[in-house]
């Protein structure tokens, strides 16, 4: 029996692509086209596959590298670029394809021409923050008859950036609050931070053994929506390491000392907190004066 008040479920996938050129991929040719090309082809195919699932499904693609982040689709360029679509191809697929290629080209060119020497890790945190803002906007703009089911798919090959810890944690907690599921597809390396994020939001984390099969993994694991994932046999969840890293050596600690003012973690007891410069009271037990022993009377 159909519920008359059932709202149409609109699934929104925001793909966050880490386009930091890993030297390993850029120089490895495969069948004439480079690995990077294949990765981007797979991602566009995945995006179009998602749009094909239902007519009101939505897509957003954001790319980032170590210099900047950029909205690839929907494109922020005001001018509508003309795109050629093959006869019989759905217009939107051609638009996605053309916007993504053009945007990625601009992003990579910016990276090469910009001679600014600030070394930075990949700006994944910023890209995920923009994805969440976009999801928030779509949620507000959607009419009441639609119910939005948002999720974010992060495709990355970079290691964790410890300096962006705060940004990542803020993004994860916001996603948890807004019911956004964060999935992660890692090529090449493992990322502890993204593992924590997937665990916090209830998403799927996958470390791909071979990048050549990226499209297969994306379509198999990440295309189904979270509500039907329980019916599918997916890769088992990894045990997440929730230990904290101490602020002084960045080593993972089992038992640490936490400053009560700023909550920074230290591996050893010290007199002053280096983050907030507060002095700590030493908790020494009070020294009890030795009682003079009374000689027991022997009777």
């Amino acid at each position: 029996m159909e519920d008359k008040e059932e709202r149409i479920e609109t699934s929104l996938v925001a793909i966050v692509i880490d386009a930091t050129p890993a030297k390993k991929f850029a120089s490895q040719p495969l069948d004439g086209s480079s690995m990077m090309n294949r990765i981007f082809d797979s991602l566009i195919a995945f995006g179009n596959a998602h749009l094909m699932q239902a007519s009101h499904n939505k897509l957003a693609i954001i790319a980032c590298n170590s210099k900047s982040t950029k909205f690839l689709y929907p494109s922020m360029d005001g001018n509508s670029r003309s795109y050629q679509n093959r006869p019989g191809q759905y217009d939107m697929f051609a638009k996605v394809d053309s916007d993504v290629r053009h945007g990625l080209g601009e992003l990579i060119l910016n990276d090469l021409t910009d001679n600014d020497s600030t070394k930075s890790d990949s700006l994944l945190g910023g890209a995920m923050a923009r994805a969440l803002c976009y999801i928030h906007r779509v949620q507000r703009e959607l009419s009441l008859s639609h119910q939005l089911k948002p999720r974010v798919l992060v495709v990355s090959g970079s290691c964790d950036s410890a300096l962006q810890y705060m940004t990542f944690m803020n993004v994860f907690f916001t996603a948890q609050k807004e019911n956004v599921v964060i999935d992660c597809c890692m090529m090449d390396t493992d990322s502890g931070l993204l593992q924590q994020g997937c665990d916090i939001t209830g998403g799927q984390y996958l470390h791909i053994p071979s990048v050549a099969g990226l499209l297969e993994y994306l379509l198999w694991v990440f295309l189904p929506s979270p509500s039907c994932r329980s019916k599918i046999v997916l890769p088992p969840p990894t045990k997440v390491d929730y230990r904290a890293a101490c602020f002084c050596h960045h080593k993972l600690v089992d038992i640490g000392w936490v400053c009560s003012v700023c909550l920074s973690i230290f591996c050893k007891f010290s007199i002053m907190c280096t983050t907030c410069n507060t002095e700590f009271k030493l908790n020494r037990p009070a020294i009890v004066p030795a009682k003079s022993k009374k000689r027991a009377r022997i009777e």
């Binding site: 005001g78 910023g126 923009r130």
Partner: protein, 404 residues
């Protein structure tokens, strides 16, 4: 706060406040955009007041909630009755409190028949408190409340707490009278000596002794206007309060269980760590859960627990996970308010959500550090929920954390 009230006139003594003139129709004769604009402005103002920079906040909080259960709580000025309305809002409060202050502890007391009773002890377990609140719904409200008895009882519970924690009492007081056994001034003095902050939310009218208690202990006293205002007042207590400066800082020893043994670390993974074991959190109850390898082992004594945060019953070590501490970090690094300015001709889209700026939007917001432009909705979202500026996070210079 009370000083201002004494020098100012009462509201009926000052002239008429023509509040209807603030709302004007726009060109099409519609009021919606105007009302939405006013609401957004009010939100921004409140958010801007909060972001005042690095004040010392009490992160580890020990809070007692005292609920008035006297006869006046059966009045129906809040639907369905005052008592039920308060209980429902307290469930939301408990949920939000542990969300925002994961390493804090909460306890619930009620006061009726000139005595006070303890419903739950100070604990960090969210479910126990919510269950207790749900069971309270059947409680009959009768008798008179006793402010002094409930404050004394709460104080006994808080006295033994470590000095570095922020000790607070929140009283939801619906009566206009109180029946006390002794001199309440002595209680107030004792509260002050123990550094306990008392905040009171009045459900009926302003009571002078409540104003005095709140003022002397450094808390707040508010009387509600309607049920939405009550929700706002209760939820405003969720935010960590600024510390008066007399709290001693100390290093607290905490354990971080749940680590996967990695080859680099050198930590040994004994098979006992993942063997099925009874968890210590359910060992007292009749339905003890036999757990598989899921669960957390205390690093100091090895006892098993189902969920964090928890205080180890065996060795007394507080067990938390890193995200619990990270939840409070955004208070320490607040974002500066964005500058409001008229539309800039070069930027056509909002940086955060890629929305096209239409002519009707008069104001856009710019971040001081990264100079990116965002729209009003993104500004509110960033300020209230995200706590990170996407522009600063997308710029390689500002993305790195300043404190290391």
């Amino acid at each position: 706060m009370a000083d201002e009230d004494e020098t100012k006139e009462y509201r009926w003594e000052s002239g008429y406040e023509k509040t209807w003139e603030a709302i004007k129709e726009d060109d099409d004769g519609l009021l919606e955009s105007n009302v939405a604009d006013l609401v957004a402005r009010a939100k921004r103002k409140r958010a801007a007041l909060k972001a005042t920079g690095a004040i010392q906040l009490g992160m580890m909080r020990h809070l007692f909630v005292v609920v008035d259960a006297s006869a006046c709580m059966f009045l129906q000025d809040l639907k369905p009755t005052r008592f039920l309305c308060v209980l429902k809002l307290l469930e939301v409060f408990v949920h939000e409190f542990f969300d925002l202050n994961p390493i804090s502890q909460l306890g619930i007391l009620t006061t009726k028949m000139k005595r006070s009773e303890q419903i739950t002890v100070l604990a960090g377990n969210q479910k126990k408190h919510i269950e207790a609140l749900q069971q309270l719904k059947d409680l009959s409200c009768e008798g008179e409340p006793s402010l002094q008895n409930s404050l004394e009882r709460a104080m006994n519970g808080l006295k033994n707490m470590p000095a570095h924690s922020s000790r607070e009492i929140l009283v939801l007081f619906g009566s206009l009278t109180t029946c006390d056994p002794g001199d309440i001034q002595k209680t107030i003095k004792a509260l002050k000596d123990n550094n306990i902050r008392v905040s009171i939310i009045g459900l009926a009218a302003e009571v002078r002794i409540c104003r005095e208690i709140a003022k002397k202990t450094g808390g707040t006293y508010n009387v509600l206007i309607d049920d939405h205002h009550l929700k706002e007042l209760i939820l405003s207590q969720v935010q960590p309060p600024a510390v008066a400066g007399s709290i001693e800082a100390s290093l607290v020893k905490m354990g971080f269980p749940g680590g996967t043994p990695s080859v680099n670390d050198g930590t040994s993974d004994s098979s006992a760590d993942h063997a099925p074991a009874y968890c210590l959190c359910h060992i007292d109850s009749e339905t003890s859960s036999l757990m598989g390898p899921n669960g957390y082992n205390c690093p100091q004594c090895g006892s098993r627990y189902c969920e964090l945060p928890v205080e180890c019953k065996q060795c007394g070590l507080t067990l938390v996970s890193a995200p619990h501490l990270a939840r409070s970090y955004h208070h320490l690094f607040p974002i500066k308010p964005f500058i409001e300015r008229a539309q800039v001709p070069n930027t056509t889209h909002c940086f955060a959500c890629a929305k096209l700026f239409v002519e009707a939007e008069t104001n856009v917001y710019e971040c001081e550090n990264c100079h990116q432009i965002v729209c009003l909705d993104c500004d509110l979202f960033i300020r209230e929920t995200l706590h990170t500026c996407p522009g600063c996070a997308s710029d390689p210079v500002t993305a790195q954390m300043k404190t290391n």
